[in-house]
């Protein structure tokens, strides 16, 4: 017997309560594989490519594009492929596998994350019936010039009625839409997007400061050796092949975290659940304002080169508008800890606010030349302030201090990273 699986509106962060399905990229009857991008979602974080986590055939599309629906709403159904025994019982999957569902119901998040969402926001099941209309059209027909114009106006094409050849949206339709005063609200300007993102950040950060008893520790870490090692390693390399300090720091943090699982996990329902994978989210500032926080999975198992690649790729994709080149839904959820690097912007140190349901955030300050005292001698060296904000419900000061200490030691042996 093949099973029918619900594909739901994913939660892409604790600050997300609802999302808009912008476009289906598949239609009923399409075969999909784990990892395929099946839809484009518009969230407060911008457009995101939504992946599917199961192999199978799409049997139903339940939500029309351009509806805002609560997190957890069933968007589509999928019939599992019979030739995929591993996905028949997701319970017994390799813990390191990227598939995240833990029950028969398909979730798009880390178990803890999804539960927190449902706990906090109670997705309304009644909306399911309201949106149970089939849609046959999964792409918008629009002429090249209409697409160009819509792009310039930041206008979502699928809400414009097409009157052109094959009912395509044409230039005239865009002009009529823009000139219609009632539609002014539908034109998402950059300012609106920014405002949405601002309010999402506000929501998450307020919740965090309200609920999480933060405590903060910092440590000035000497990085003379790390810098020397980087200089040697990079000297004969093309700029594209060079390793930056941030990659070294990420790797050191990830390896240290494997020994301090108390900082790497989720707090929900008054309980801490450690996460086995070290999935580190990085705060990336967008040029247009606001931030996105995509994650790199299993950082402790990646080489420095792989980390550099992941960072470059992620920064590019954070700013991309093209389907398939944007951040994917799986990259925006399930981070077990976050890093914010304000040193790049010249700040000495940053005490971050924890992104729930995580329990810690690590802030990196700028690299500074300082006078270092060795015995009776003063030496000019380089140091960096690392700050740890942690959730006191889960961690105590002692553990946090040990973590920083251990991280400082790791950075004295860069060749081992």
């Amino acid at each position: 017997m093949t099973k029918s699986i619900d594909i739901t509106m994913p939660s892409l962060g604790s600050d997300m309560t609802e999302g808009m399905l912008v476009e289906w990229l598949i239609k009923v009857g399409d075969k999909v594989k784990h990892g395929d991008v099946i839809a484009v979602l518009e969230t407060q974080k911008g457009a995101i490519d939504m992946e599917v986590y199961q192999d199978g055939t799409i049997t139903q599309l339940l939500v029309q594009p351009l509806k805002n629906v609560p997190v957890g709403t069933v968007l589509a159904r999928l019939k599992e492929s019979e030739a995929a025994p591993s996905s028949l019982n997701p319970r017994y999957q390799n813990p390191l596998s990227k598939t995240k569902q833990h029950s028969d119901k398909l979730n798009f998040d880390q178990p803890g994350m999804a539960s927190v969402e449902q706990h906090l926001y109670q997705p309304q099941q009644k909306s399911l019936t309201a949106v149970q209309t089939h849609t046959s059209r999964h792409t918008v027909n629009a002429s090249p010039i209409a697409r160009k114009m819509a792009n310039e106006q930041q206008l979502n094409l699928s809400i414009v009625r097409g009157t052109g050849f094959n009912d395509a949206v044409i230039l005239k339709d865009i002009e009529a839409f823009i000139n219609e005063p009632n539609n002014q609200g539908s034109l998402t300007t950059n300012d609106d997007k920014l405002a949405n993102m601002r309010s999402a950040i506000a929501k998450a950060m307020s919740q965090s400061k309200r609920d999480i008893p933060h405590f903060y520790l910092s440590s000035d870490i000497t990085i003379n050796k790390a810098q020397q090692w980087l200089q040697q390693t990079n000297q004969d390399k093309d700029p594209q092949q060079q390793i930056l300090l941030i990659a070294l720091l990420l790797k050191a943090i990830a390896i240290t975290l494997t020994k301090y699982p108390g900082l790497n996990g989720f707090y929900h329902k008054d309980r801490f659940e450690p996460v086995n994978e070290i999935n580190i989210a990085n705060v990336i500032s967008l040029r247009t304002g606001g931030v996105v926080v995509p994650l790199i999975q299993n950082v402790d198992q990646l080489s420095l080169h792989q980390i550099m690649q992941a960072l470059r790729d992620m920064t590019l994709r954070s700013r991309s508008l093209e389907t398939g080149k944007r951040l994917r839904s799986s990259e925006l959820s399930g981070a077990s800890i976050t890093i914010t690097n304000m040193g790049e912007r010249g700040a000495d140190r940053v005490f971050g606010i924890i992104y729930p349901p995580q329990v810690a955030i690590i802030g990196l300050g700028k690299v500074k030349k300082v006078a270092q005292v060795y015995g009776e001698k003063i030496n000019v060296g380089e140091q960096l302030t690392v700050c740890l904000s942690a959730d006191h419900r889960v961690v105590d000061g002692m553990l946090a201090a040990k973590f920083l200490n251990s991280l400082a030691k790791k950075l004295q042996y860069p060749e081992q990273l």
């Binding site: 090249p144 010039i145 050849f165 230039l171 005239k172």
Partner: protein, 333 residues
């Protein structure tokens, strides 16, 4: 555009062609005309009637039925410093001279490293509509427009019929002129001179809603369709290509950028057609200005039929153009 209109005369396309030939014979003694039946018979389509008596058999030369031979003679004469006008009765028979045209006329300047050019003009009748059946009705302009080294003209108006030959004779390289048989009896204004260089396309009608691109025998049909559409308040712009090689891309693109839509009307077959080439040019250079897919109206993919109703059905017609425009603008009733 029509600055000389005050001095215009009305004449048939045939008479305009003849007037052009007479002027070129008068102005340059190197010019002579040869071809099948151009002398005693006065031309298969009556274009050269009376010229033999006027200019004598040294300048108006009847040739045997051997296209390859007399086109080759024309090339030789051009190489020798003459300015021959070779008439090939119809484009259908020019296939017999294709080797001379493609392998010799078009290549000699290149093959000689620029030492020898071939200032030859070849005139030929083309097109369907007179119930002359498949072997006398085809449109091979596309084949010649494919070939570097040639210039290909398609006069669609009386004025172009009158002056394009003179322009062609000024060119140092071989020029082919296609005279559509359905235009011969049409009447229209002839001005004091050409409206533009021979390689320039001309906007025959200004419009803002859609660009119809055409040439030769299809131009009157397109203008008729444009008038019918004007009644429906659809403003059509008509581009007359005039020159099929080289194509005046700038004029085509400027028009499409203005109207955002294009239909190409071409009496050739669609597959591998000039219409396909034009569509590709628009796609390459004006894609982001398009508001609808480019359409092509071409001849049905059959040898041109003999029966009148089938011949009519095979060729692009006015109602077809009107319907296509309405479909593209989504204004069908």
């Amino acid at each position: 555009m029509n600055t000389q209109k005050t001095n215009s005369d009305s004449m048939t396309y045939r008479d305009a062609l003849r007037a052009g030939i007479i002027q070129s014979l008068n102005e340059d003694e190197r010019v002579f005309l040869m071809g099948e039946d151009v002398g005693h018979y006065g031309g298969c389509y009556g274009v050269t009637k009376g010229l033999l008596a006027q200019y004598g058999d040294q300048r108006i030369i009847d040739t045997p039925l051997c296209e390859s031979g007399f086109v080759g003679v024309g090339i030789g004469a051009a190489l020798g410093g003459m300015k021959p006008i070779v008439e090939v009765m119809t484009v259908n028979f020019s296939l017999l001279a294709m080797d001379q045209i493609v392998n010799s006329a078009a290549t000699l300047r290149h093959m000689s490293g620029g030492q020898f050019n071939v200032p030859l003009v070849i005139r030929m009748a083309c097109g369907a509509g007179l119930q002359l059946a498949a072997q006398h009705s085809h449109s091979w302009e596309n084949l010649y427009a494919h070939i570097p080294g040639l210039k290909v003209l398609s006069p669609a108006t009386q004025n172009d019929a009158r002056y394009m030959l003179l322009q062609a004779l000024q060119d140092p390289d071989p020029v082919l002129i296609f005279e559509h048989v359905m235009l011969l009896n049409t009447q229209g204004d002839v001005l004091d001179g050409p409206e533009a260089d021979m390689e320039k396309a001309i906007i025959r009608k200004q419009g803002t809603d859609i660009t119809l691109i055409t040439y030769g025998g299809s131009l009157p049909k397109v203008l008729k369709a444009a008038s019918a559409l004007e009644v429906l308040n659809i403003k059509v712009e008509v581009v007359d290509l005039r020159c099929l090689r080289p194509l005046d891309k700038a004029t085509i693109i400027a028009s499409v950028e203005k109207t955002h839509r294009a239909i190409i009307i071409d009496e050739g077959w669609k597959t591998g057609s000039l219409a396909g080439e034009l569509s590709a040019i628009i796609m390459e250079q004006a894609f982001w200005t398009l508001d609808a897919p480019v359409q092509r109206i071409c001849t049905q993919e059959v040898p041109i039929p003999y029966p009148k109703h089938l011949e009519h059905a095979a060729l692009p017609q006015v109602d077809q153009i009107v319907n296509c425009v309405q479909r593209l603008l989504n204004t069908e009733l």
